[in-house]
Amino acid sequence: MAPALEDELRQVVGSSHVLSRPEELLVYEADGLTHHSATPRAVVLPADKTEVVQIVKRCRAHGVPFVPRGAGTGLSGGALALDGGVVIECARMNRILRIDPEDRIAVVQPGVVNADLSKRVAPHGLFYAPDPSSQQACTLGGNVAENSGGPHTLKYGTTTNHVLALELVLPDGKLVQLGSATGMTVGYDLVGAVVGSEGTLGVVTEATMRLSPIPERVETLLGIFGEVVSACRAVGRMIRSGLVPAALEIVDRRTIEAVEASVYAAGLPTDAGAVLIVEVDGPAPAVARQVERVREHCVAEGADQVQVARDEAERQRFWRARKGAFGAMGRLAPDLYVHDAVVPRRKLPEILESICEIGDRHGLRLSNVFHAGDGNLHPNISFDRRDADEMARVLAAGEEILRTCVEAGGVISGEHGIGTEKRDFMGLLYSEADLEAMKKLRAAFDPTLVCNPGKLFPTTRFCVEANPKARGYDQVPLG
């Protein structure tokens, strides 16, 4: 980095909050997608928004790009500093600034860890609904940028449904307030545009979040199925019937085996084809009815067993199989590729079969644990990136999986975003004109492309091949 810039940044945040030695930069070379990496020029840790404004202005003046970063748990390479950029790491901006129980809002800095917000507001009978599986580590700033979801997205929506207002440092260093604490939008819905923009439209320095009341009653069921496709069919039945559980998650046989062999063991039968975790919540009389309906749907699709958690300990046990899955998989191989794609829910059974076939054909250890109620698949591939041949097969299988999902009317990401990982697959979904329309939004916020460049859009090598079946449009031809 130009020493002048480094010195200026030290003046802004203090010497101890600028990292530039190679060993300090090592952890910033990648996020959770370990096989993509890039070394930043420096990492700056601002204490507040005024420092962020200064950092952005200095970077701009030196023509150096910058990248906001939360906890680095992202799974699409979004927080990598390409082109020798500066990482603006928000970890020190981790205060909950205001909690208003009657108004059901919280104002937070971007570095607040997701789970901490729910913990803090629980005494008021409230919680923050979006619950990514990484919620013990990931930050709300990262959640806003990725529009993160979680198991309870089915009923409660993703991050975008829970962000009322944002404070943003624009790529030119100006500070703007978007939206209002009441959630009202006047003029264009800029909050809606910024949520999910993967840190390319500015640095979020404050966010006003909607809090939800903790439901009166929660029941968790575990359906044990001989085949994963039967579990998928049970999900289809529930959706069709208009039932909206809080969560509908499937864990397949290969994942159960990994979990049961690990410290996360939940006492699941390792000969089961899949387990379906269903959570229903709401007013007590409605929940009791829903439990019965869920049971009926599971039985109708041939569930071997349907258990209802008898107490909190058992409920936690059911969830352990789901939440411990990624950790358990870590034992199988040095690396884990967590894929992310969405398909129409009624296509889950056939797509899941195709995905397993793809994994087998490429000789890979592929398992599935996913948000079935949203049609959001997570095929997980355990591998060793030092094995070049295996790495090549992982990438080939990944691409095939994405193509299969798109062919079925699905999309290439439900919650992890595009980042560097999938930028070259955007053309599977979108035409040149669709992508140009997105670039217009980018240009309105960041005409000089200094904020998190190199993400989300296809590189020039790539040519668009928008599939007519993408997103179901074979049924609705374009003019």
């Binding site: 108004d103 545009a193 069709r240 969405v342 997103r471 003019g479």
Partner: protein
């Protein structure tokens, strides 16, 4: 020169592209504009071709759906062409297994509602219920029009087909219920008042029809006191009515209501609705409304032109104060406490009511929005007022971004120029 002569050469080109029946020469003064042409392009290529020609001729259009809200936003004096969306009718898809639908922007929502109900045998509903019976899907989304049942049209949209001002057809989002592939442009188009592109069709997430439904009302002094009932899990709609509004509903139902009231619709699973209803039955002065459809009445009331209407957003804790301020400034108030939304209206007839009435309600709205830590928009006002006053609270802090967006999506300013906040 007549308005039609003004656009004469453009008309020829448009006839060639769209066919003669889709192009009509008119002389119409609407929204401060002298319109000389009415066009009604079909979906896909036709709309694109029309917009390209408008762009080449640098001739702005006023986009109109059902026309129920032609007066929402600032006037569009530069428009010369009326672009009707009624022919934007791409084929409909209702996937009742997945609870989603692709619906055409040019169709009237009341027809689409009926279509979805029929195809799904009453199991699914479109979660949009704007006031105005002839509202089109496109108009409802472009105006982000909320109704009593559904507050946030943005939450219903999974994907959109939008033809940009350049004439380029584009798509964003998709049909699946979860999607973070690229920017969420649908959020930008919803509520953009037709200033960034023309919506042709939308993938919507449907909502299961509730199993049971009951309507109750009870005397409640202010909207903050109504909050607990409004937030109960089985409450789908909770509307607080100021004294005059409650009296209006009372008259409609043949009931006598002397003071402010809370009107709620309980909806959802039958056991939960029954339990909630039992709680209502024990409330002092509460009464179940079994006659008529009070929700439809609410929707219709919101759609009835009164001359002057503002919508104010407030935090829950400030609801009572905000309602008080609005009433003090002469407005009748209808509030949705659970969503912090207040509608304030006064009867206003241009030429009869004076400027002081306007000043008073605008002042009230500004004070109320400040007290509620929210914002406000003027939803209905006579043309003369909309010509000179800002209709969208205080857009100033975000104006540079609004302008940059308009410059990117509609550089020649051919789609409703000036209509949006800050006259963008």
């Amino acid at each position: 020169m007549s308005a039609a002569a003004d656009v004469g050469s453009l008309a020829e080109g448009l006839r060639r592209e769209l066919g003669a029946p889709a192009v009509e020469e008119i002389e119409l003064d609407l929204e401060g504009a002298r319109l000389g042409l009415r066009i009604a392009p079909g979906p896909g290529g036709a709309l694109g071709a029309a917009l390209r020609l408008l762009g080449e001729a640098a001739t702005p259009a006023l986009v109109r759906g059902g026309g129920t809200r032609s007066a929402f936003g600032h006037p569009v004096p530069r428009a010369r062409v009326l672009l009707e969306t009624r022919a934007l009718l791409p084929p409909t898809v209702v996937d009742d297994e997945d609870g989603i639908a692709y619906l055409p922007a040019g169709a009237a929502l009341c027809d689409l509602r009926e279509h979805v109900r029929k195809v799904s045998e009453g199991r699914w509903e479109i979660p949009l219920d704007p006031p105005g019976d002839s509202s089109t899907l496109g108009g409802c989304l472009a105006a982000a029009a909320a109704g009593p049942l559904h507050a946030a049209p943005r939450d219903a949209v999974l994907g959109l087909d939008v033809t940009l001002a350049s004439g380029e057809p584009t798509r964003c989002g998709g049909r699946v219920v979860k999607n973070v592939a690229g920017y969420d442009l649908a959020k930008l188009y919803v509520g953009s008042l037709g200033t960034l592109g023309v919506i042709e069709g939308a993938w919507l997430r449907l909502q299961p029809a509730p199993e049971a439904r009951e309507v109750w009302w009870a005397p409640v002094d202010d909207p903050r006191q109504a909050l607990a009932a409004a937030r109960a899990a089985s409450t789908r709609v909770a509307a607080w009515l100021s004294r005059e509004v409650a009296a209006e509903l009372g008259a409609e139902l043949g009931e006598n209501r002397a003071g402010p009231a809370l009107l709620v619709e309980l909806a959802g699973d039958a056991p939960a609705v029954e339990a909630e209803a039992r709680a209502w039955a024990g409330r002092a002065g509460a009464q179940r409304l079994e006659q008529g459809d009070p929700m439809a009445w609410l929707r219709a009331r919101q759609g009835r032109p009164r001359g002057l209407r503002v919508r104010v957003a407030s935090l829950a804790s400030a609801l009572a104060e905000v309602a008080r301020i609005l009433e003090e400034h002469g407005a009748q108030v209808l509030a949705y406490p659970a969503r912090g939304e207040l509608h304030a209206d006064v009867d206003f007839s241009p030429g009869v009511s004076g400027d002081a009435t306007v000043e008073r309600i605008l002042r009230g709205a500004r004070l109320a929005a400040r007290a509620g830590q929210g914002d406000f928009v003027v939803e209905d006002a006579p043309l003369a007022i909309r010509e000179v006053r800002e209709m969208f609270g205080d857009p100033e802090p975000r104006l540079a971004l609004f302008r940059a967006l308009k410059a990117q999506y509609d550089p020649r300013g051919i789609l409703n120029p000036g209509r949006q906040a800050g006259r963008v």
